[in-house]
Protein backbone atom coordinates (compact mmCIF):
# COMPACT_ATOMS: atom_id res chain seq x y z
CA UNK A 1 0.00 0.00 0.00
CA UNK A 2 1.07 3.51 -0.68
CA UNK A 3 2.70 5.08 2.40
CA UNK A 4 0.90 8.37 1.88
CA UNK A 5 -2.47 6.72 1.69
CA UNK A 6 -1.66 4.76 4.79
CA UNK A 7 -0.86 7.82 6.85
CA UNK A 8 -3.92 9.55 5.46
CA UNK A 9 -6.09 6.63 6.56
CA UNK A 10 -4.44 6.59 9.97
CA UNK A 11 -5.37 10.21 10.47
CA UNK A 12 -8.96 9.20 9.83
CA UNK A 13 -8.74 6.50 12.45
CA UNK A 14 -8.26 3.57 10.06
CA UNK A 15 -5.21 1.45 10.58
CA UNK A 16 -4.06 -0.41 7.52
CA UNK A 17 -1.23 -2.85 7.81
CA UNK A 18 0.27 -5.93 6.27
CA UNK A 19 0.50 -9.30 7.92
CA UNK A 20 4.28 -9.03 7.93
CA UNK A 21 4.22 -5.70 9.72
CA UNK A 22 1.73 -6.89 12.27
CA UNK A 23 3.66 -10.09 12.89
CA UNK A 24 6.99 -8.35 13.27
CA UNK A 25 5.47 -5.60 15.41
CA UNK A 26 4.00 -8.17 17.77
CA UNK A 27 7.25 -10.06 18.13
CA UNK A 28 9.54 -7.11 18.53
CA UNK A 29 7.31 -5.57 21.21
CA UNK A 30 7.25 -8.59 23.48
CA UNK A 31 10.75 -9.97 23.57
CA UNK A 32 10.99 -12.17 26.62
CA UNK A 33 14.59 -12.58 27.70
CA UNK A 34 15.91 -15.62 29.47
CA UNK A 35 16.65 -14.98 33.15
CA UNK A 36 20.25 -15.90 32.75
CA UNK A 37 23.30 -14.06 33.99
CA UNK A 38 26.88 -15.19 33.88
CA UNK A 39 29.08 -12.54 35.44
CA UNK A 40 29.54 -8.82 35.99
CA UNK A 41 27.38 -7.85 32.99
CA UNK A 42 24.42 -9.63 34.58
CA UNK A 43 24.38 -6.98 37.30
CA UNK A 44 24.10 -4.25 34.69
CA UNK A 45 21.39 -6.32 33.03
CA UNK A 46 19.49 -6.41 36.33
CA UNK A 47 20.08 -2.68 36.75
CA UNK A 48 18.54 -2.18 33.29
CA UNK A 49 15.36 -3.90 34.36
CA UNK A 50 15.09 -1.86 37.56
CA UNK A 51 13.11 1.32 38.02
CA UNK A 52 15.71 3.73 36.73
CA UNK A 53 16.31 2.31 33.27
CA UNK A 54 13.04 0.42 33.11
CA UNK A 55 13.37 -2.12 30.32
CA UNK A 56 9.60 -2.63 30.55
CA UNK A 57 9.23 0.33 28.22
CA UNK A 58 10.43 -1.98 25.46
CA UNK A 59 8.14 -4.84 26.35
CA UNK A 60 11.08 -6.88 27.52
CA UNK A 61 10.81 -6.93 31.28
CA UNK A 62 9.37 -10.43 31.48
CA UNK A 63 12.50 -12.35 32.34
CA UNK A 64 11.64 -16.04 32.09
CA UNK A 65 13.51 -18.53 34.27
CA UNK A 66 12.87 -21.31 31.76
CA UNK A 67 14.40 -21.32 28.29
CA UNK A 68 11.20 -22.91 26.97
CA UNK A 69 9.38 -19.61 27.45
CA UNK A 70 12.06 -17.22 26.28
CA UNK A 71 12.70 -15.52 22.95
CA UNK A 72 15.96 -13.84 23.69
CA UNK A 73 19.15 -14.94 25.36
CA UNK A 74 21.36 -12.20 26.74
CA UNK A 75 24.79 -13.75 27.17
CA UNK A 76 25.78 -11.41 29.97
CA UNK A 77 29.33 -12.10 31.04
CA UNK A 78 32.33 -14.33 30.64
CA UNK A 79 31.55 -17.72 29.13
CA UNK A 80 33.99 -20.17 30.62
CA UNK A 81 34.78 -23.46 29.00
CA UNK A 82 33.06 -25.21 31.87
CA UNK A 83 29.90 -23.18 31.27
CA UNK A 84 29.88 -23.20 27.45
CA UNK A 85 28.07 -26.56 27.03
CA UNK A 86 25.32 -25.35 29.35
CA UNK A 87 24.92 -22.11 27.39
CA UNK A 88 24.59 -24.01 24.11
CA UNK A 89 22.15 -26.44 25.71
CA UNK A 90 19.99 -23.57 26.97
CA UNK A 91 20.05 -22.04 23.51
CA UNK A 92 18.96 -25.34 21.99
CA UNK A 93 16.11 -25.57 24.48
CA UNK A 94 14.70 -22.21 23.46
CA UNK A 95 11.90 -22.38 20.88
CA UNK A 96 12.17 -20.50 17.59
CA UNK A 97 12.18 -17.62 16.86
CA UNK A 98 15.11 -16.93 19.15
CA UNK A 99 17.73 -14.23 19.29
CA UNK A 100 21.03 -13.74 21.07
CA UNK A 101 22.59 -10.56 22.41
CA UNK A 102 26.26 -10.96 23.24
CA UNK A 103 26.69 -8.50 26.07
CA UNK A 104 30.14 -7.26 26.99
CA UNK A 105 33.69 -7.83 25.91
CA UNK A 106 33.91 -11.30 27.45
CA UNK A 107 30.93 -12.73 25.61
CA UNK A 108 32.23 -11.25 22.38
CA UNK A 109 35.84 -12.40 22.50
CA UNK A 110 36.87 -13.40 26.01
CA UNK A 111 37.58 -9.76 26.79
CA UNK A 112 40.19 -9.09 29.42
CA UNK A 113 40.19 -12.77 30.32
CA UNK A 114 40.90 -14.14 26.85
CA UNK A 115 44.32 -15.39 27.93
CA UNK A 116 42.76 -17.59 30.59
CA UNK A 117 42.93 -21.33 30.12
CA UNK A 118 39.28 -21.79 31.05
CA UNK A 119 37.79 -18.87 29.11
CA UNK A 120 35.92 -19.29 25.85
CA UNK A 121 37.00 -16.71 23.31
CA UNK A 122 33.53 -15.58 22.35
CA UNK A 123 30.15 -17.32 22.50
CA UNK A 124 29.77 -16.94 18.72
CA UNK A 125 32.05 -19.95 18.36
CA UNK A 126 29.07 -22.14 19.24
CA UNK A 127 25.85 -20.22 18.65
CA UNK A 128 24.85 -17.47 16.20
CA UNK A 129 24.74 -13.99 17.70
CA UNK A 130 22.44 -11.20 16.53
CA UNK A 131 23.70 -8.14 18.39
CA UNK A 132 27.06 -7.51 20.01
CA UNK A 133 27.48 -4.77 22.61
CA UNK A 134 30.99 -3.83 23.64
CA UNK A 135 31.87 -2.57 27.09
CA UNK A 136 33.19 -3.96 30.33
CA UNK A 137 30.44 -3.99 31.44
CA UNK A 138 28.25 -2.12 28.94
CA UNK A 139 26.13 0.53 30.55
CA UNK A 140 22.38 -0.04 30.80
CA UNK A 141 21.93 2.49 28.00
CA UNK A 142 24.06 0.26 25.79
CA UNK A 143 21.86 -2.72 26.55
CA UNK A 144 18.78 -0.66 25.72
CA UNK A 145 20.46 0.33 22.47
CA UNK A 146 21.04 -3.33 21.72
CA UNK A 147 17.35 -4.00 22.33
CA UNK A 148 16.36 -1.28 19.92
CA UNK A 149 18.79 -2.59 17.36
CA UNK A 150 17.32 -6.05 17.70
CA UNK A 151 13.84 -4.61 17.35
CA UNK A 152 14.86 -2.90 14.14
CA UNK A 153 16.31 -6.16 12.91
CA UNK A 154 13.09 -8.03 13.64
CA UNK A 155 11.07 -5.27 12.01
CA UNK A 156 12.97 -5.67 8.78
CA UNK A 157 12.51 -9.44 8.49
CA UNK A 158 10.58 -10.77 5.50
CA UNK A 159 8.14 -13.57 6.10
CA UNK A 160 8.55 -15.19 2.70
CA UNK A 161 11.17 -15.48 0.03
CA UNK A 162 14.76 -16.64 0.11
CA UNK A 163 15.77 -14.09 2.77
CA UNK A 164 13.21 -15.27 5.28
CA UNK A 165 14.57 -15.81 8.78
CA UNK A 166 15.67 -19.10 10.22
CA UNK A 167 12.49 -19.92 12.09
CA UNK A 168 10.48 -19.80 8.88
CA UNK A 169 12.94 -21.89 6.95
CA UNK A 170 12.71 -25.57 7.81
CA UNK A 171 16.01 -26.29 6.15
CA UNK A 172 18.04 -24.18 8.54
CA UNK A 173 19.28 -25.61 11.78
CA UNK A 174 17.98 -24.24 15.04
CA UNK A 175 19.98 -26.47 17.35
CA UNK A 176 23.72 -26.62 17.49
CA UNK A 177 26.36 -29.05 18.63
CA UNK A 178 26.91 -29.08 22.38
CA UNK A 179 30.64 -29.23 23.03
CA UNK A 180 31.97 -31.87 25.37
CA UNK A 181 34.62 -31.71 28.06
CA UNK A 182 37.89 -33.08 26.76
CA UNK A 183 41.14 -33.88 28.46
CA UNK A 184 42.67 -30.47 27.67
CA UNK A 185 39.99 -28.37 26.00
CA UNK A 186 36.40 -28.42 24.80
CA UNK A 187 35.69 -30.74 21.90
CA UNK A 188 35.16 -29.37 19.35
CA UNK A 189 36.89 -26.07 20.26
CA UNK A 190 34.46 -24.24 17.96
CA UNK A 191 31.52 -25.14 15.74
CA UNK A 192 32.54 -24.72 12.07
CA UNK A 193 28.86 -24.48 11.04
CA UNK A 194 28.53 -21.27 13.01
CA UNK A 195 31.98 -19.81 13.18
CA UNK A 196 35.15 -19.85 11.22
CA UNK A 197 38.20 -17.78 11.96
CA UNK A 198 38.15 -14.62 9.85
CA UNK A 199 41.07 -14.46 7.47
CA UNK A 200 44.04 -13.07 9.26
CA UNK A 201 46.77 -11.63 7.13
CA UNK A 202 49.77 -12.81 9.04
CA UNK A 203 52.13 -11.29 6.51
CA UNK A 204 50.93 -7.84 7.41
CA UNK A 205 50.79 -8.71 11.07
CA UNK A 206 54.34 -9.93 10.92
CA UNK A 207 55.81 -6.89 9.21
CA UNK A 208 54.01 -4.12 10.98
CA UNK A 209 53.97 -3.05 14.54
CA UNK A 210 51.69 -4.88 17.00
CA UNK A 211 48.12 -3.70 16.73
CA UNK A 212 47.58 -4.22 13.02
CA UNK A 213 46.67 -7.87 13.29
Amino acid sequence: MDEQLKSELRRQGVVATSLQELYNWGRKSSLWPLNFGLACCAIEMIATTMARYDLARFGAEVFRPSPRQADLMIVAGTVTKKMAPQVVRLYNQMPEPKYVISMGACAISGGPFKQGYNVLKGIDRYIPVDVYIPGCPPRPEALIDAFMMLQRKIDAQELTGPNRPRHLNAEMASEFVIPEFGAHDLEPPSNPEVWSAPLVNIEIAGKNEPGNG
Binding site: N35, L38, I43, A47, M50, A51, R52, T78, T80, K82
Partner: protein, 386 residues
Protein backbone atom coordinates in the same frame (compact mmCIF):
# COMPACT_ATOMS: atom_id res chain seq x y z
CA UNK B 1 16.60 -32.00 35.24
CA UNK B 2 15.70 -34.52 37.86
CA UNK B 3 16.05 -38.25 38.11
CA UNK B 4 14.23 -40.53 40.42
CA UNK B 5 16.69 -42.93 41.88
CA UNK B 6 16.59 -45.84 44.22
CA UNK B 7 20.28 -46.45 44.65
CA UNK B 8 20.17 -44.57 47.89
CA UNK B 9 23.26 -46.14 49.35
CA UNK B 10 25.43 -44.58 46.66
CA UNK B 11 23.94 -41.17 47.17
CA UNK B 12 24.05 -41.12 50.90
CA UNK B 13 27.51 -42.48 51.33
CA UNK B 14 28.29 -44.71 54.24
CA UNK B 15 27.55 -42.38 57.15
CA UNK B 16 23.99 -41.35 56.44
CA UNK B 17 20.93 -43.33 57.36
CA UNK B 18 18.34 -44.09 54.71
CA UNK B 19 14.87 -43.48 56.09
CA UNK B 20 13.21 -42.83 52.79
CA UNK B 21 12.54 -46.40 51.75
CA UNK B 22 14.77 -46.03 48.75
CA UNK B 23 13.00 -43.07 47.17
CA UNK B 24 15.43 -40.20 47.03
CA UNK B 25 15.31 -37.45 44.46
CA UNK B 26 18.50 -36.06 43.08
CA UNK B 27 18.27 -32.64 41.49
CA UNK B 28 20.82 -30.31 40.04
CA UNK B 29 20.19 -26.68 41.05
CA UNK B 30 22.15 -24.54 38.69
CA UNK B 31 24.31 -23.48 36.98
CA UNK B 32 21.33 -21.86 35.24
CA UNK B 33 18.92 -21.27 38.07
CA UNK B 34 17.08 -18.03 38.76
CA UNK B 35 18.08 -17.88 42.39
CA UNK B 36 21.64 -19.13 42.61
CA UNK B 37 23.13 -15.65 42.20
CA UNK B 38 25.02 -16.44 39.05
CA UNK B 39 26.34 -19.69 37.75
CA UNK B 40 26.56 -21.60 41.01
CA UNK B 41 25.48 -25.22 41.02
CA UNK B 42 24.42 -27.53 43.80
CA UNK B 43 23.79 -31.23 43.46
CA UNK B 44 21.00 -31.72 45.97
CA UNK B 45 19.57 -35.02 47.17
CA UNK B 46 16.08 -34.77 48.60
CA UNK B 47 13.95 -37.00 50.75
CA UNK B 48 10.54 -35.57 50.02
CA UNK B 49 11.18 -31.89 50.61
CA UNK B 50 14.01 -32.38 53.08
CA UNK B 51 17.61 -31.99 52.01
CA UNK B 52 19.72 -35.03 52.86
CA UNK B 53 22.81 -34.19 50.89
CA UNK B 54 24.11 -31.12 49.07
CA UNK B 55 27.32 -30.86 47.12
CA UNK B 56 28.25 -27.51 45.62
CA UNK B 57 29.89 -27.56 42.19
CA UNK B 58 32.17 -24.64 41.44
CA UNK B 59 34.12 -23.41 38.48
CA UNK B 60 31.46 -22.18 36.06
CA UNK B 61 32.94 -18.71 36.29
CA UNK B 62 36.57 -19.71 36.78
CA UNK B 63 38.23 -16.90 34.85
CA UNK B 64 41.83 -17.63 35.82
CA UNK B 65 42.56 -14.37 37.60
CA UNK B 66 45.52 -15.90 39.37
CA UNK B 67 47.12 -17.26 36.20
CA UNK B 68 46.56 -14.09 34.20
CA UNK B 69 48.03 -11.97 36.99
CA UNK B 70 51.30 -13.86 36.77
CA UNK B 71 51.73 -12.43 33.28
CA UNK B 72 50.59 -8.91 34.15
CA UNK B 73 52.50 -6.07 35.75
CA UNK B 74 51.60 -5.08 39.30
CA UNK B 75 49.66 -2.11 37.97
CA UNK B 76 48.03 -4.26 35.29
CA UNK B 77 46.57 -6.51 37.97
CA UNK B 78 44.56 -3.67 39.47
CA UNK B 79 41.75 -3.62 36.86
CA UNK B 80 41.41 -7.38 37.20
CA UNK B 81 40.71 -7.05 40.91
CA UNK B 82 37.64 -4.94 40.00
CA UNK B 83 36.12 -7.99 38.40
CA UNK B 84 36.56 -10.36 41.32
CA UNK B 85 33.63 -9.30 43.44
CA UNK B 86 31.98 -7.10 40.86
CA UNK B 87 29.65 -5.48 43.38
CA UNK B 88 32.55 -4.09 45.37
CA UNK B 89 35.31 -3.13 42.98
CA UNK B 90 36.69 -0.44 45.27
CA UNK B 91 37.25 -2.66 48.29
CA UNK B 92 38.93 -5.22 46.00
CA UNK B 93 41.27 -2.48 44.81
CA UNK B 94 41.93 -1.56 48.38
CA UNK B 95 42.87 -5.07 49.48
CA UNK B 96 45.24 -5.45 46.55
CA UNK B 97 46.76 -2.01 47.09
CA UNK B 98 47.24 -2.86 50.76
CA UNK B 99 49.06 -6.08 49.89
CA UNK B 100 51.37 -4.32 47.44
CA UNK B 101 52.00 -1.50 49.90
CA UNK B 102 52.96 -4.04 52.52
CA UNK B 103 55.17 -5.86 50.00
CA UNK B 104 57.06 -2.73 49.02
CA UNK B 105 56.75 -0.63 52.18
CA UNK B 106 54.77 2.22 50.65
CA UNK B 107 53.13 4.92 52.75
CA UNK B 108 49.75 6.37 51.86
CA UNK B 109 49.00 10.09 52.29
CA UNK B 110 46.37 11.20 54.74
CA UNK B 111 43.79 12.43 52.25
CA UNK B 112 44.02 9.23 50.24
CA UNK B 113 43.34 7.20 53.39
CA UNK B 114 40.19 9.22 53.97
CA UNK B 115 39.10 8.83 50.36
CA UNK B 116 39.64 5.09 50.71
CA UNK B 117 37.46 4.93 53.79
CA UNK B 118 34.73 7.02 52.16
CA UNK B 119 34.62 5.04 48.92
CA UNK B 120 35.06 1.75 50.77
CA UNK B 121 32.14 2.40 53.10
CA UNK B 122 29.97 3.61 50.23
CA UNK B 123 30.78 0.29 48.57
CA UNK B 124 29.68 -1.53 51.71
CA UNK B 125 26.40 0.40 51.70
CA UNK B 126 25.54 -0.49 48.13
CA UNK B 127 26.63 -4.10 48.54
CA UNK B 128 24.54 -4.65 51.65
CA UNK B 129 21.57 -2.79 50.18
CA UNK B 130 21.66 -4.99 47.08
CA UNK B 131 22.07 -8.08 49.22
CA UNK B 132 18.99 -7.45 51.33
CA UNK B 133 17.09 -6.74 48.11
CA UNK B 134 18.20 -10.00 46.55
CA UNK B 135 17.44 -11.90 49.75
CA UNK B 136 13.90 -10.57 49.66
CA UNK B 137 13.66 -11.58 46.03
CA UNK B 138 14.76 -15.08 47.01
CA UNK B 139 12.06 -15.22 49.64
CA UNK B 140 9.43 -14.42 47.05
CA UNK B 141 9.02 -10.69 47.53
CA UNK B 142 9.44 -10.38 43.83
CA UNK B 143 10.54 -7.05 42.44
CA UNK B 144 9.67 -4.31 44.88
CA UNK B 145 12.33 -4.60 47.62
CA UNK B 146 15.01 -5.19 45.01
CA UNK B 147 13.88 -2.12 43.13
CA UNK B 148 14.09 -0.07 46.31
CA UNK B 149 17.58 -1.41 46.92
CA UNK B 150 18.72 -0.72 43.39
CA UNK B 151 17.31 2.78 43.59
CA UNK B 152 19.70 3.46 46.48
CA UNK B 153 22.50 1.62 44.73
CA UNK B 154 22.13 3.80 41.65
CA UNK B 155 22.65 6.92 43.77
CA UNK B 156 25.95 5.53 45.03
CA UNK B 157 26.94 4.35 41.55
CA UNK B 158 26.40 7.91 40.32
CA UNK B 159 28.92 9.05 42.92
CA UNK B 160 31.37 6.40 41.78
CA UNK B 161 30.90 7.41 38.19
CA UNK B 162 31.53 11.06 38.96
CA UNK B 163 34.65 10.13 40.90
CA UNK B 164 36.19 7.36 38.82
CA UNK B 165 34.46 7.38 35.46
CA UNK B 166 32.89 3.97 35.82
CA UNK B 167 29.77 2.67 37.48
CA UNK B 168 30.98 -0.75 38.45
CA UNK B 169 34.61 -1.28 37.50
CA UNK B 170 36.05 1.69 39.30
CA UNK B 171 39.76 0.83 39.25
CA UNK B 172 40.12 3.63 41.76
CA UNK B 173 43.07 2.84 43.96
CA UNK B 174 46.75 2.70 43.30
CA UNK B 175 49.48 1.45 45.57
CA UNK B 176 50.50 4.59 47.37
CA UNK B 177 47.15 6.33 47.19
CA UNK B 178 44.19 6.88 44.91
CA UNK B 179 43.98 7.53 41.20
CA UNK B 180 42.05 10.81 41.16
CA UNK B 181 40.89 13.32 43.72
CA UNK B 182 37.23 14.05 44.27
CA UNK B 183 35.96 16.64 41.77
CA UNK B 184 34.42 19.91 42.93
CA UNK B 185 31.07 19.41 44.58
CA UNK B 186 31.49 15.65 44.87
CA UNK B 187 31.82 15.65 48.63
CA UNK B 188 28.63 17.71 49.02
CA UNK B 189 26.78 15.32 46.74
CA UNK B 190 28.10 12.35 48.69
CA UNK B 191 27.05 14.04 51.91
CA UNK B 192 23.50 14.30 50.57
CA UNK B 193 23.40 10.63 49.64
CA UNK B 194 24.76 9.59 53.01
CA UNK B 195 22.37 11.87 54.92
CA UNK B 196 19.41 10.46 53.04
CA UNK B 197 20.49 6.85 53.46
CA UNK B 198 19.09 6.26 56.97
CA UNK B 199 15.68 7.23 55.62
CA UNK B 200 15.89 4.35 53.18
CA UNK B 201 16.92 2.04 56.00
CA UNK B 202 14.00 3.17 58.15
CA UNK B 203 11.62 2.60 55.28
CA UNK B 204 13.09 -0.78 54.58
CA UNK B 205 12.95 -1.82 58.21
CA UNK B 206 9.42 -0.58 58.70
CA UNK B 207 8.23 -2.56 55.74
CA UNK B 208 10.10 -5.75 56.17
CA UNK B 209 12.12 -6.34 59.29
CA UNK B 210 9.28 -7.29 61.59
CA UNK B 211 7.32 -8.91 58.79
CA UNK B 212 5.79 -12.15 59.95
CA UNK B 213 6.51 -14.08 56.78
CA UNK B 214 10.11 -12.98 56.78
CA UNK B 215 10.57 -14.14 60.35
CA UNK B 216 8.92 -17.48 59.68
CA UNK B 217 11.13 -18.08 56.68
CA UNK B 218 14.42 -16.98 58.22
CA UNK B 219 14.47 -17.57 61.97
CA UNK B 220 16.14 -20.81 62.98
CA UNK B 221 17.09 -21.57 59.37
CA UNK B 222 20.67 -22.35 58.43
CA UNK B 223 22.13 -22.09 61.91
CA UNK B 224 25.91 -21.96 62.39
CA UNK B 225 27.42 -21.94 65.87
CA UNK B 226 30.30 -19.71 66.92
CA UNK B 227 32.82 -22.54 67.08
CA UNK B 228 31.77 -23.90 63.69
CA UNK B 229 32.04 -20.46 62.13
CA UNK B 230 35.60 -19.93 63.34
CA UNK B 231 36.72 -23.39 62.34
CA UNK B 232 35.21 -23.04 58.88
CA UNK B 233 37.01 -19.76 58.31
CA UNK B 234 33.87 -17.63 58.20
CA UNK B 235 34.56 -13.95 58.03
CA UNK B 236 32.70 -10.69 57.76
CA UNK B 237 28.96 -10.54 58.40
CA UNK B 238 28.68 -14.35 58.20
CA UNK B 239 31.02 -14.80 61.15
CA UNK B 240 29.62 -11.92 63.16
CA UNK B 241 26.06 -13.19 62.74
CA UNK B 242 27.26 -16.33 64.51
CA UNK B 243 28.67 -14.25 67.33
CA UNK B 244 32.34 -14.16 66.34
CA UNK B 245 33.60 -10.76 67.38
CA UNK B 246 36.13 -10.36 64.60
CA UNK B 247 36.02 -7.29 62.43
CA UNK B 248 39.31 -6.55 60.69
CA UNK B 249 38.61 -2.83 60.88
CA UNK B 250 38.96 -3.26 64.65
CA UNK B 251 41.47 -6.14 64.73
CA UNK B 252 44.01 -5.08 62.11
CA UNK B 253 43.17 -1.37 62.27
CA UNK B 254 44.34 -1.04 58.69
CA UNK B 255 44.28 2.39 57.13
CA UNK B 256 42.88 4.91 59.58
CA UNK B 257 39.95 2.95 60.98
CA UNK B 258 41.02 3.42 64.59
CA UNK B 259 40.14 7.10 64.31
CA UNK B 260 36.45 6.41 63.83
CA UNK B 261 33.92 5.54 66.47
CA UNK B 262 31.69 2.71 65.32
CA UNK B 263 30.17 -0.41 66.78
CA UNK B 264 30.45 -3.98 65.55
CA UNK B 265 27.03 -5.64 65.52
CA UNK B 266 26.98 -9.30 66.56
CA UNK B 267 24.33 -11.97 66.09
CA UNK B 268 23.07 -14.38 68.71
CA UNK B 269 21.63 -17.28 66.77
CA UNK B 270 23.68 -17.47 63.59
CA UNK B 271 20.59 -18.03 61.45
CA UNK B 272 19.49 -16.36 58.23
CA UNK B 273 17.55 -13.69 60.11
CA UNK B 274 20.65 -12.68 62.08
CA UNK B 275 22.69 -12.44 58.93
CA UNK B 276 20.04 -10.31 57.34
CA UNK B 277 19.65 -8.01 60.33
CA UNK B 278 23.40 -7.76 60.77
CA UNK B 279 23.73 -6.26 57.33
CA UNK B 280 21.03 -3.72 58.05
CA UNK B 281 22.81 -2.75 61.29
CA UNK B 282 26.18 -2.62 59.53
CA UNK B 283 24.78 -0.17 57.04
CA UNK B 284 23.85 2.12 59.93
CA UNK B 285 27.39 1.91 61.30
CA UNK B 286 28.83 2.58 57.85
CA UNK B 287 26.75 5.73 57.66
CA UNK B 288 28.29 6.80 60.98
CA UNK B 289 31.82 6.16 59.69
CA UNK B 290 31.06 8.06 56.50
CA UNK B 291 29.79 11.08 58.42
CA UNK B 292 32.94 11.21 60.53
CA UNK B 293 35.24 10.70 57.54
CA UNK B 294 33.56 13.40 55.49
CA UNK B 295 33.76 15.81 58.40
CA UNK B 296 37.46 15.20 59.05
CA UNK B 297 38.94 14.76 55.57
CA UNK B 298 42.01 16.98 55.21
CA UNK B 299 43.37 18.62 52.08
CA UNK B 300 46.61 17.38 50.61
CA UNK B 301 48.12 15.03 48.07
CA UNK B 302 46.42 11.77 47.18
CA UNK B 303 49.47 9.85 45.98
CA UNK B 304 52.73 9.05 47.66
CA UNK B 305 55.19 11.00 45.47
CA UNK B 306 57.92 8.39 45.90
CA UNK B 307 55.94 5.50 44.44
CA UNK B 308 56.81 4.37 40.98
CA UNK B 309 53.56 3.05 39.56
CA UNK B 310 54.81 2.06 36.13
CA UNK B 311 57.76 -0.25 35.93
CA UNK B 312 57.15 -1.12 39.55
CA UNK B 313 59.50 -3.85 40.76
CA UNK B 314 59.30 -4.77 44.42
CA UNK B 315 62.13 -6.65 46.09
CA UNK B 316 61.87 -10.41 46.30
CA UNK B 317 59.66 -11.41 49.17
CA UNK B 318 56.04 -11.94 49.99
CA UNK B 319 53.16 -10.22 51.71
CA UNK B 320 49.62 -11.02 52.77
CA UNK B 321 47.31 -8.04 52.97
CA UNK B 322 43.70 -8.32 54.08
CA UNK B 323 40.79 -5.99 54.64
CA UNK B 324 37.25 -6.21 55.87
CA UNK B 325 35.46 -6.27 52.54
CA UNK B 326 31.65 -6.21 52.56
CA UNK B 327 31.61 -9.97 52.08
CA UNK B 328 34.28 -10.79 54.64
CA UNK B 329 38.02 -11.07 54.88
CA UNK B 330 39.39 -10.33 51.43
CA UNK B 331 43.09 -11.05 51.28
CA UNK B 332 45.77 -10.89 48.64
CA UNK B 333 48.88 -13.00 49.02
CA UNK B 334 51.64 -11.81 46.74
CA UNK B 335 54.98 -13.49 46.14
CA UNK B 336 57.55 -11.39 44.34
CA UNK B 337 60.69 -12.71 42.71
CA UNK B 338 62.00 -9.23 42.06
CA UNK B 339 60.58 -8.98 38.55
CA UNK B 340 57.89 -6.65 37.24
CA UNK B 341 55.03 -9.11 37.60
CA UNK B 342 53.94 -11.10 40.63
CA UNK B 343 55.37 -14.60 40.88
CA UNK B 344 52.24 -15.69 42.71
CA UNK B 345 49.02 -13.75 43.04
CA UNK B 346 46.60 -15.41 45.38
CA UNK B 347 43.15 -14.10 46.22
CA UNK B 348 41.67 -15.20 49.51
CA UNK B 349 38.00 -15.17 48.49
CA UNK B 350 35.58 -14.61 51.39
CA UNK B 351 32.61 -15.78 49.31
CA UNK B 352 34.14 -19.18 48.61
CA UNK B 353 35.23 -19.83 52.17
CA UNK B 354 31.90 -18.66 53.59
CA UNK B 355 30.31 -21.44 51.53
CA UNK B 356 32.30 -24.13 53.35
CA UNK B 357 29.43 -25.04 55.63
CA UNK B 358 26.69 -24.75 53.01
CA UNK B 359 25.89 -28.45 53.20
CA UNK B 360 25.81 -28.42 57.01
CA UNK B 361 23.50 -25.41 56.97
CA UNK B 362 21.09 -26.96 54.47
CA UNK B 363 20.79 -30.54 55.68
CA UNK B 364 17.40 -31.14 57.26
CA UNK B 365 15.95 -27.95 55.79
CA UNK B 366 13.35 -27.75 53.05
CA UNK B 367 14.42 -27.32 49.48
CA UNK B 368 13.05 -23.77 49.39
CA UNK B 369 15.32 -22.86 52.30
CA UNK B 370 18.43 -23.65 50.27
CA UNK B 371 17.77 -20.58 48.22
CA UNK B 372 17.58 -18.19 51.16
CA UNK B 373 20.49 -19.82 52.98
CA UNK B 374 22.59 -19.34 49.88
CA UNK B 375 21.24 -15.81 49.55
CA UNK B 376 22.22 -14.98 53.12
CA UNK B 377 25.83 -16.09 52.52
CA UNK B 378 26.16 -13.23 50.03
CA UNK B 379 28.21 -14.79 47.28
CA UNK B 380 29.42 -13.30 44.06
CA UNK B 381 30.55 -15.90 41.61
CA UNK B 382 33.32 -13.77 40.19
CA UNK B 383 35.01 -14.13 43.54
CA UNK B 384 33.95 -17.68 44.38
CA UNK B 385 35.43 -19.13 41.22
CA UNK B 386 37.88 -16.37 40.35
Amino acid sequence: MSVLTDTTADLLGSGAEDRSGGQLLEISMGPQHPSTHGVFRMDVTLDGEKVVKLKPVFGYLHRNHEKIAEKESYLGCMPYTDRLDYFCSITNNWAYALAVESLAGIKVPERAEYLRVITGELTRLQNHASLVGFLMQDMGASGTPLMYAFREREKILDLFEALTGARMMCNYMRFGGCRVDAPAGWMQQAQKVVDAFPRFLDEFERMLVSNEILMARTQGVGVVTTAQAVNAGFSGPMARASGVNYDLRKVDKYGIYERFAFRVPLGDHGDVYDRYMLRVLEMRESVEILKQAMRDIPAGPIMDPGTKIRGFRPKAGEAYGRIEAPKGELGFYLVSDGSGNPYRFRVRPPSLINLTLLEDMCIGQNVADIVIILGSVDIVLGEVDR
